[in-house]
């Protein structure tokens, strides 16, 4: 069931060291890369159907094509390593076990979009992982892999790690750029037409760490090697993270299309002794929750997850057992979103706080049926009325818990 595209070197001792990384295939895509034209690289990635692994799932190749051609302004690659969606802890595996894969991916991706400067924005809490990443970048500079010439080729590549300051919203790509520009991480209004991102008014592309780390495999082996994995509509692989009371929580690379219950039982080792599966939040805490019954039917690919009313998100499965009170679960989640709302849009800022207060009242035994109706009304008022998708995500998770586990909320009210 496990596959090795991005995670190939994770189990090799000292795989983060340049010498070991090189001996195990790192930077072997670079010669082929420079034998191709940048447009050919973009086309190869487009044909691979590689999608963004940060939660949105947007196709990567078409995103690269949004970069303007013949623009005199410098282009930038911004790598999103903010990874602060609860349940998500996959990119840190790349930082920890194979940072040179990320550097190699940055070279490939930057060449495709004609960028010479890349910034890796990493959440501030990942200090240890940032240090490891910086050590790998230093090794790459010292070895002539990056710098004025990439491995002897006439292509300059500079990579800088930018440490975040502890704000979930900076995982949203436009908020991330605002933060990188030295401002509060407030998401930007989106243009009507599709266009690239803008970093100090220069064209930029933002991609997730895992997405970038997948590119060398596609460059080196061709798109068919990648599409050989997964399903027809969701080709490829993903680092799926599993947390909660299973026997073997962790990060596992799988092709798309596996049954969720098989992954939980066979790779996760099933539930810990004495615990029974009650629910799963499938792809980070903002994805609509699945009941144990729905988990039996769930398949881990984009289309299948939409078909059962949820989303694949980041692939971070949060397992919940039958000892948990789902009102507590909802309260815990809304506390997170209340704390992390950037405050820019009133429906989000006030809505999260309002739901948080109502749930506190419910848990204190002072709630009424009207309060539950109010939560649903607030969810609908938040949805679609804000600049970014933070508020719609809050609506998705809170509403799904309340509707699917309504009996537990009813038990708590007067």
């Amino acid at each position: 069931m496990l596959v090795k595209v991005v995670s190939k070197n994770f189990d090799i001792p000292n795989s983060h060291k340049l010498e070991v990384a090189k001996a195990n295939g790192r930077y072997s895509s670079i010669e082929k890369l420079f034998s191709m034209q940048p447009d050919e690289v973009t086309e190869e990635v487009t044909k691979s159907s590689l999608r963004g692994k940060g939660g949105g799932g947007a196709p990567c190749g078409p995103k690269w094509k949004l970069m303007p051609k013949d623009d005199p302004r410098p282009a930038y690659l911004i790598v999103n390593g903010d990874e602060s969606e609860p349940g998500t802890f996959k990119d840190r595996q790349i930082f920890q076990y194979d940072p040179h894969l990320l550097i190699e991916g940055i070279i490939c991706s930057s060449y495709a979009i004609n960028a010479h400067d890349a910034y890796i924005y990493v959440r501030g809490e990942y200090k240890w992982f940032i240090d490891r990443l910086n050590e790998a970048i230093k090794e790459a500079y010292d070895d002539g892999i990056i710098g004025e010439k990439v491995m002897g080729h006439d292509y300059r590549m500079d990579i800088t790690v930018h440490r975040g300051g502890g704000a979930y919203i900076c995982g949203e790509k436009s908020a991330l750029i605002e933060s990188l520009e030295g401002k509060r991480g407030h998401p930007r209004l989106k243009p009507h037409g599709k266009e690239c991102e803008w970093f100090f008014d220069n064209p930029a592309t933002v991609n997730n760490v895992e997405t970038i780390a997948t590119v060398p495999f596609i460059v080196e082996n061709g798109y068919q090697a990648y599409t050989a994995y997964g399903t027809e509509k969701s080709p490829g692989t993903m680092l799926f993270a599993m947390s909660g009371p299973v026997k073997n929580p962790g990060v596992y690379e799988l092709a798309f299309g596996n049954k969720m219950i098989d992954v939980i039982n066979q790779i996760g080792g099933g539930m810990q002794d004495g615990k029974k599966l009650k629910a799963v939040i499938p792809g980070g805490s903002s994805c609509p929750i699945l009941t144990a019954k729905e988990v039996e039917k769930a398949v881990l690919d984009y289309e299948s997850m939409w078909d059962i009313g949820s989303t694949l998100g980041t692939g971070g499965m949060m397992i919940i057992d039958d000892s948990m009170n789902m009102v507590d679960v909802a309260k815990n989640i809304i506390e997170f979103y209340h704390h992390e709302s950037c405050g820019q849009c009133t429906p989000c800022r006030e809505g999260c706080g309002w739901i948080d207060k109502i749930l506190a009242k419910v848990l204190a035994g002072e709630g009424t049926k009207k309060d539950l109706e109010t939560i649903l009304e607030v969810c609908d008022t938040m949805n679609g009325k804000t600049i970014c998708v933070f508020a719609p995500a809050v609506k998705d998770i809170i509403k799904s818990i309340l509707i699917k586990f309504e009996d537990e909320f009813i038990k708590e009210i007067k």
């Binding site: 609860p86 800088t160 704000a167 520009e181 939040i281 997170f336």
Partner: protein, 165 residues
């Protein structure tokens, strides 16, 4: 005029880092991290220093620093315990660890112990859900924790403090 100054090493880091960005505005986060690494917290005087260096109004630096939760805006204890409280950690028992901290050190979230040794923060997801429950001690992750392992860490901090006196 600020009385705060970077150490020569940090000034050199600042000068090296500022060259890497197309616009010095990008230095807001790196400049504040250098302050916090040097002092343990970001004082109003240090914010004025950063403002002067980056040609900003002090209020702009204040607005920025208060948005990002990792900047300590007042001095904290020697050992900063950041306990993750978000869903997977809660499911795996973070509430028990919180109670243990209260019972043994006597502090709740946002509080510093009377001896200045410990500061406790209850934080939102630290990206260690597979190792839940977890906490960070001065930024170092401790995963798959229990009351026994937390007790051991607290004792180690106390012993280290005694031996350094």
């Amino acid at each position: 005029m600020s009385k705060f100054k970077y150490t020569p090493e940090n000034e050199a880091k600042f000068q090296e880092q500022i060259k890497r960005y197309p616009n010095s505005n990008s230095m807001m986060l790196p400049a504040l991290w250098l302050v916090q690494e040097q002092e343990g917290w970001v004082s109003p005087d240090a914010m004025i220093f950063v403002a002067e260096k980056l040609n900003k109004a002090p209020i702009e630096v204040y607005e920025f620093a208060t948005f990002y939760t990792m900047f300590n805006l007042k001095p904290i204890g020697t050992y900063h315990i950041e306990l993750c409280k978000t869903l997977s950690c809660m499911v795996m028992g973070s509430k028990d660890l919180k109670k243990f901290i209260k019972d043994t050190i006597g502090i709740g979230p946002g509080e510093t112990s009377e001896d200045g040794l410990f500061h406790f923060s209850e934080v939102e997801c630290l990206g260690a859900c597979g190792g839940a429950p977890m906490f960070a001690l001065n930024g170092e992750y401790h995963e798959n924790q229990s009351i026994d392992s937390l007790k051991k860490v607290i004792e180690e901090c106390r012993n280290a403090s005694k031996s350094s006196k």
